[in-house]
Amino acid sequence: MVREQVAEFSVEYVQALDEEGNLDEAQAPEVDDEDLLELYRLMRLSRRTDERAVALQRRGESGTYAPGIGQEAAQVGSAFALGDDEWMVPSFRESAAYLTRGAPVHRLLWYAMGMEEGAEVADRNTPPSIPVGSQALHAAGLGWGQAIRGEDAATLTYFGDGATSQGDVYEAMNVAGVLDAHTVFCCQNNQWAISVPRERQSRSETLAQKAVAAGIDGIQVDGNDVLGVLGVARDALESAREGNPVMVEALTYRQSMHTTSDDPRVYRTEEEEGDWDARDPIVRFERYLREEGVLDDDRMAEIADDIEALLSDEIDRAREGREQVEPAEMFDYVFAETPPELRRQRETFEREEGEKGETAPASAEGGLRGEREAGGAEIPESVEQSAGEAAEERGDEADDEEVGDRG
């Protein structure tokens, strides 16, 4: 009576593929060879996309970029578990998840190039969400909608270890629980939130236990183990589709910089980085696939070549799109129907741009872009640049292929 235990909870950790690439059959999800190869291809594609995107930023061709290098298993494994008729609600480091969901590379690059064209919504993926953790509530809303309609479908959202400190993430898990939302909350614990290490975000032993506060299930998985992640995500989605939201903590590592403006050497050790390199998700999966005979040197070379060809096309496409940006379009999507004062502002804008063209030497493209070029474009400052000055300096010198291995 007087002092008694009234509730008990625990957090489980799952791993299917260990660091040497050995599979624990009991934890392995069912995956055929084709899917195994596709998982592998997606992880490789993601890594190369990130590397190329960083290089583009270094050359001044695009803006701040947040690479997910090291997190490919966490993203590809979980996004792969989602059905086409289900929703993916990413944060800002989810290139791999987007690619898994079929988004073309040039769209990701457009976003990095500062173009809304890269944030258009297609195929049930919401656009990148910059305010940390805020998107978890959208996923709760989507999952609630699926519950209201009684759909056999779910929503999966991503956020980081840092994001778990935000009230939004807690609120999202809590309301999802109450509303039986079909939502899976996938926390990629990559150990760092910019310079703040995981243990300074929360006193909690695990992040998965954040689920306890919401009364929903929480589980930890080796986030560098694509098969473990896939299995856990499948189970979580299955539960969510029945109105039982789940939080998944994928233990992984941000191998590279926070963004292209960041220099991790200021706040973490090479030793730590080395430890995690050894647990690289792609290397591990590769070992397993080769061991299984699903992959060999020829196949790997073929995949690599296909990826390079694809990226080369996509980067061209991104560059072409960038040349077609019409600044005046910023007025066109504020409301479904543009109100009078805004129409007037658009007209003023166009008139002034015209006037500008008259006084400044116009380029072939005309308008703003013309002027910028005419004015002799200085290399733009990038955001959070100060912290990344050193990195930038290196970056400016590096060429397309050299950058991206280590931030």
């Binding site: 929703w87 609600v89 809304e116 064209e117 944030a119 258009e120 919504v121 297609a122 919401t126 656009p127 969400s129 910059i130 305010p131 805020s134 978890a136 509530l137 959208h138 996923a139 709760a140 809303g141 989507l142 999952g143 609630w144 909608g145 699926q146 209201i148 309609r149 929503t155 009230g167 939004d168 609120e171 999202a172 809590n174 309301v175 109450v178 509303l179 379009e329 910023m330 066109d332 999507y333 504020v334 409301f335 479904a336 109100p339 009078p340 004062e341 805004l342």
Partner: protein
């Protein structure tokens, strides 16, 4: 056909009819279900529309953020924020997401959410239950802000807001909820957003007001000597500048009234629009009759804070005597 009903009942009627018309309309928030809302704006709706009315946990960021997700899922969310001052708890969801979504996705994802919330002073409410932050909302691109002043408009504007493809802050003046019974059309009644209404014609001075201040302005005019034109702005953003400018071009004088603090209030924006397009018609400075630049006081000092017919009358007199 028309009914004599109060503003809060008109709100309820609009919700009722819109939920009947479109099952993607979902009403939710704190105490809006079983309790029928703390002002009874949603009374009994949960019984009529059990799949469309929901009580939620006590979390405004969640309430607004859910609306963004529901929108993506194809719903028309009509959340209630129990009092306007608590919208701040979810202000980031409004500014960073709801209002920007269409723009940032180039029209591929809209947020047809209508955020209903009681607002303004005059009912001796608890602390932080009486603020007016419409200027702060109006300064957020992509968000519409609407304030009905009477029962018929409450129904018509709310209907329009719910049907609008973009996010709308729908601010319901608490002091008008039960102030009077007025004629409200039965059945479909839509008052388009973005159109002000001349509620009294006059030649000597233009008085612009919205929400609870419209009644005060009319009182002031009735009890004064000036032949004033009174404009109910109704939608404060996007603003119907033409209605104001037309009137000011005619009268040459203008008084703008709001409960919100003076500095940075929407009266300033109206003055600026008159400056832009009708300066040369002005025969006197535009008068601003507003709340003071002080936090809305607890209710013992509330009457001293809020503009009333008296203060408006003095404003009109100043505009006429300058």
């Amino acid at each position: 056909m028309a009914n004599q009903i109060r503003l809060v009942e008109a709100v309820r009627q609009a919700l009722d009819e819109e939920m009947a018309r479109d099952e993607s309309v979902v009403v939710y928030g704190e105490d809006v279900g079983v309790n029928g809302g703390v002002f009874r704006a949603t009374q009994d709706l949960i019984e009529e529309y059990p799949e469309q009315v929901y009580d939620t946990p006590l979390a405004e960021a969640a309430i607004l953020g859910l609306g963004v997700g529901l929108s993506a899922a194809g719903f028309r969310p009509v959340p209630e924020i129990q009092f306007a001052s608590f919208a701040y708890q979810g202000f980031h969801q409004l500014v960073q997401h709801a209002s920007r979504m269409r723009s940032r996705t180039r029209g591929t994802l809209g947020v047809p959410m209508t955020v209903r919330t009681p607002y303004g002073g005059g009912i001796r409410a608890l602390e932080l239950h009486s603020e007016s932050y419409e200027a702060g909302f109006a300064h957020v691109p992509g968000l519409k802000t609407v304030v009905p002043a009477n029962p018929a408009d409450a129904k018509g504007l709310l209907t329009a807001a719910i049907r609008d493809p973009d996010p709308v802050m729908f601010l319901e003046p608490t002091s008008r909820y039960r102030a009077s019974r007025e004629s409200v059309p039965e059945g479909e009644h839509v008052v388009p957003l973005g159109e002000a209404e001349v509620v009294r014609e006059g030649e000597e001075v233009t008085v612009v007001a919205w929400g609870a201040m419209v009644a005060e302005a009319l009182d002031a005019v009735e009890s004064g000597d000036a032949d004033a034109e009174v404009i109910d702005l109704r939608t404060v953003s996007p603003m119907d500048s033409e209605a104001i400018l037309d009137s000011v071009r005619k009268t040459g004088r203008c008084v703008v009234v709001h409960e919100a603090p003076r500095t940075g209030g929407l009266a300033a924006e109206i003055v600026a629009r008159i400056n832009d397009d009708a300066l040369y018609y002005l025969e006197a400075p535009v008068e601003r009759v507003t709340g003071y630049d002080v936090p809305f006081p607890l209710f013992a000092r509330e009457e001293a804070y809020r503009p009333d017919a008296d203060r408006i009358r003095r404003g009109i007199e100043r505009a006429l005597s300058a």
